[in-house]
Each structure stands twice: as C-alpha cells, then as structure tokens.
C-alpha cells in the first residue's frame, strides 16, 4: 500500500514538474503581455495587436493558405495511403521515407530549391506573380505537413479492414470515387481531421518559407512584431498558442464518439 502511494506520488511529481516546465514560460509571457500600461495589468497590448490591420490581413492570408493546404494534402494523401495499403504494401517503407524527408531537410533548403527551380527565368516561373507564388507557398506547405498528414491517415487506415470494405463496396456496385468518398474517407475521418488540424497549426506559425518567398503570412508578421515591439509580441505569442490549442482541442472533440472509428470492421 505504501509502495503504491509512493508510486502514485512519484507520478504526480513528474506531472507537476512537466507542468511547471511548460506552463511557467507561458504564464510569464501572458503576465508580461498584460504590462503594457505601467503600474497596472491591462489588455492594451491585445487591443493594439487586434486593431492592427496587418494582424487580420496576415492571419486571414495564413488561414486561407492553411485551408488550401489541407484540401490539397487530403486529396494527395488519402488516395495515396489507401492505394499503398490496398495494392502496394511493399512500397510502404519507400513512401514513408519520402514523407519523412521534410522533417530531415530544413525548410530553408527546400525553399532555396524552390527558388532555383521556379524562379522567373525557369520553365515553370511560379515566383513570377503573387498568385503563383501563393500557389508555390501552398505546395511547399503541403510538403512541410506531409509527415503529419500521411502518418495520421496511414494510421487511420490501419485501424479499418481496407481490403474487405473495398471489396464489399465493389460487390455492391461502387466504383473507386464512391469507395473513397463514401466508404474509406468517412472511416478515416478522425485521422484526416487530426492531420488537418496539425497542418493548420504548422501553416499558421510557419516563417521560413513565407518569409523567403516574401508572402504576407502570419509567421513573418510575428517575427516583425517580435523584432520591433516589446509587449505586443507576447500578446501575439499567447494568441498563437490559443489558436494551436484550439486545433488540439478540436482534434480531441472530433476523436471522441465518432461511430466510424469506434469499431473497425476488422
């Protein structure tokens, strides 16, 4: 009994230490962000940040880009992971390796590669106009989010019996688009959403690619504020954390009680 109590106490101690490690800087940042007006706590820094037209412009830009990244990522990853699981399981290690590359290759290397490949003198001058640069940035975000999206979807697919569900749908007259949209996608909905929210969190805070491609994204705005202001960057950091946590909370909310993944067909 005493050993059990000691063990439980040890666990709580570790949790407490972890919480202190993570929360003290956050609380400190939050506390600092409230000190804009000397001598008293206020939300002035937040008011200034939220009133700054660049804040809403960059956040909107990054949000639109994140949604587009998620859409393209889902269209690219779900059929690929499905086909690998269904017909090409031998290629799984190769594809997993490729999807991990963005974690190994620094973003700055990737973006310099893009600049060399797609500059205005190249065959495909994607950096030639703002819209095509946006497109290039979106594709680079798809690459950046690939490890998270692919892993989430592949793990989701492993929890259902893809082969049998596919064959069952085929025997009922369904072609590939119907199988993917009505049978497979709803059953990996939670996994896709997890991947989507992770992608959202990555895109919202990304700096390197957006900065080097000179696009008005939220990441470069954060950096700009951080370099020139005192209290506003702290307020922005807290807002960024809130956005990220909201994404995590949404993952949790959608993961609970989804009938598609409570009971797999296996």
């Amino acid at each position: 009994m005493a050993a059990l109590t000691r063990g439980r106490l040890g666990s709580w101690l570790i949790i407490l230490l972890g919480a202190v490690y993570f929360f003290v800087p956050l609380i400190g940042t939050f506390e600092f962000s409230l000190r804009y007006i000397r001598g008293r706590y206020s939300l002035e820094a937040y008011r200034i940040v939220l009133a700054d037209p660049r804040f809403s412009a960059t956040l909107t830009y990054s949000t639109v880009l994140a949604v587009a990244t998620i859409a393209v990522g889902v269209v690219l990853v779900v059929p690929t992971a499905y086909w690998i699981q269904l017909r090409l399981p031998r290629l799984r290690p190769v594809v997993e390796f490729i999807t991990l590359l963005p974690l190994v290759i620094p973003a700055i290397v990737i973006v310099f590669g893009y600049l060399r490949l797609y500059n205005s003198n190249s065959v495909l001058p994607l950096t030639g106009t703002e819209r095509t640069t946006d497109l290039l940035l979106m594709f680079s975000y798809v690459t950046l989010a690939l490890p998270y999206m692919y892993r989430a979807v592949a793990t989701g697919l492993r929890t259902i019996d893809v082969h049998t569900l596919t064959e069952a749908a085929q025997s009922l007259g369904a072609g590939w688009p119907i199988i993917l949209l009505r049978v497979i996608l709803p059953n990996v909905r939670v996994a896709v959403l997890s991947g989507a929210f992770l992608t959202f969190a990555i895109v919202i805070g990304e700096f390197t690619m957006a900065s080097l491609l000179d696009r008005p994204a939220f990441g470069p705005y954060l950096q700009l504020m951080g370099a020139n202001r005192a209290y506003e960057p702290s307020a922005l950091a807290v807002i960024s954390f809130a956005i990220t946590w909201a994404c995590m909370g949404l993952i949790q909310a959608f993961t609970r009680g989804a009938p598609g993944q409570v009971a797999g067909a296996r």
Partner: protein, 361 residues
Amino acid sequence: MEAGTRFLEIDDLQKRFAQTTAVEHVQLDVTRGEFVSLLGPSGCGKTTTLRMIAGFELPSSGAIRLDGVDITRRPPNKRNVGMVFQSYALFPNMTVAQNVGFGLRVAKRPDAEIKQRVEEMLALIKLPTLGNRYPYQMSGGQQQRVALARALAIRPQVLLLDEPLSALDAKIRVALRNEIRSIQRTLGITTIYVTHDQEEALSLSDRIVVMNEGRVEQIGTPFEIYNFPRTPFVASFVGTLNILRGRVVDSAGGRIMVDDQEIVAAHGLEQARAGDPCSVALRPEVVSLGETGGNGNRMRGTVEDVNFLGSIVRIRVRFKNNAISLDTFNNPRLSPPRQGQSLTVNFPREAVLVLEPPSAG
C-alpha cells in the same frame, strides 16, 4: 447437365500466383436457384474460386459465364453478384439501414424504393427495428444477418458467401445456418457457399464441390459425397472414415487382401486388375464387434485404444498396417474391451467403398 439449365458456368478455371497454382482446372455448372458449397481445407482454392466469381481475382485461364454472358474480365462492381464476407464487412460509418441501402444508393434508385427495399430486407432477416443502429452496436450474428440483407438488397444474380459463419459461436452458427438456407429457398437465389465445415456443407447444400490442392475432388449431393466418396481425400475429409489399404485379389469377385485378411467389396472393382493396390473406406457406423453370419466381411485384430465418450465408446482396432475405429453405444451392463484384447469386427460387403486413386498432379 443440359446447356439450358446452366446458370453459372465455371469453365476450366485456373489461377496461378507466381510459382503456386491456387486453382487448377475447375469445372462447375450451377443451375438457377441451386445452393452449391465449395468445401475443403485451408488453401484448397475454394476462396480463390469464389473471389474469381466475384471478380476480385482475375483467372489465369478459363472462363466464368453468368446466364450465358462471359463475365470473366468484368470488374466486380459490374457483375451484379452479392457477396457476404467472413468478417461481415459492414461499413462502420453507416447505420444498418444505410448499409443495406448502400448498393441501391450507388445504383441511384429513388429514395422511396430504397426505403421500401431496406424495410423488406430488414424484415427478411428479422431485424425490422434495428435500422438506426450502427454495426458496433450489434452482435456478430446480427451483423452477419445485416451483411446478408445488404448483399441481397441489390437483387444479385448470384449470392456468394465466404465462410460467413466462421466468426460466430456454435449456437448462433447453427441458427444462422438454418436462416441462410431458409432465405435462400424463399428467394430462390443461386448461391455459392465457401466453407471448411463439412457439417455446414452437408446440411445446407443442394450439391457440394469438395476441393483439395486447387483441384475438384468430387462434385455431388450431400448424400453422394457422404455415402459414396470417390477419392481417399473426400472419404477422409467428409465425415469420419476408416481407410484400409490393400491389393486386389480378384476384381470380378471384388476380393481384396488387407493385412493378410481377405475382404469383399460388393462393387467398385470392375476396372481393377489382380495385384493392383487399392484403398477402401468404411464408415465407423457400419462396423460392428463380433462374428456375423451371412456374407459379411470379418477381420480379426487387436484393440489398440478405447475411448469412453459418454454415450459412445470409440474402439480402435489394429490389424497390421491398417487400423479402424468403430463406435459402440455405451452399455453399463457390458464392460468395454480392454487394450490389447484380440477380437473380431464385421461389416457388410455393400459398405466397403472402393476409392479412386488420387488424380495425378
């Protein structure tokens, strides 16, 4: 079988996977409304044959015709063949009603028709009130009945069932087995049923196709398969059989020498020659202890093993190289024979089944 009565024709079907031949020269004609079981051990090619009918596997050679139309290369979603899987394969994201109506929705049938058909099917499987449940809220037996309803809802030309009862416990298996047969008879749907369970095949089927190592060993009614197995494999796989190996002494007289003792087969040796090796089969229920009069066969041997099974006592008697098992009813007034005891067994000449030698590769 006359050409007009053929509904599903499987013509010289073969399937090779790299170096392995999974299905070899399978030939089968199924009439409309017939219930045919493919029976055999794991790896015998029965599921591969079924999957080729469903369109999930492409045959290496041969043809499959459905109602006179060649469907060999047709994709599975264009065959109008219903399939029930061992693992139910219900779509977890859909309710029971949505599962049953899935095929009709894919076929873009009107909503009213889908609703009516779903209700019809749920009534057929005796689950009329469970349309709003999700698969995970149901038992295995219920899920499999829904899978059956889903396969039948699209009015398929052929219903394929791939070991549908294997994942269920014994009691539900028997109940659902009877239900499947009853539904099949009600709808008169042509059905191909894959199983490794001989009892299932014997109780359900109009005809049974016994398969082994990719080949068809025998096709016949359950009565024929059980009582007149043509090969040692069929004899040993279907029911319990004693196989005795010996040599033909006199083919005209049906005389066979087994371990230096002569027995007589009433028929089956017409094509054999004296000296040919031959195998005969005896069902345990036709073998009795003791001497007998008339023209019955007698063999003398030693009790090798006695197993008390409650109402039945199973006795194994060894001759020399051969042995047979026989079952006797437990009689509390008579003690069973002892191990090592010498005794005589008898069986009628008509009960001696002469087996065909296994066909060459």
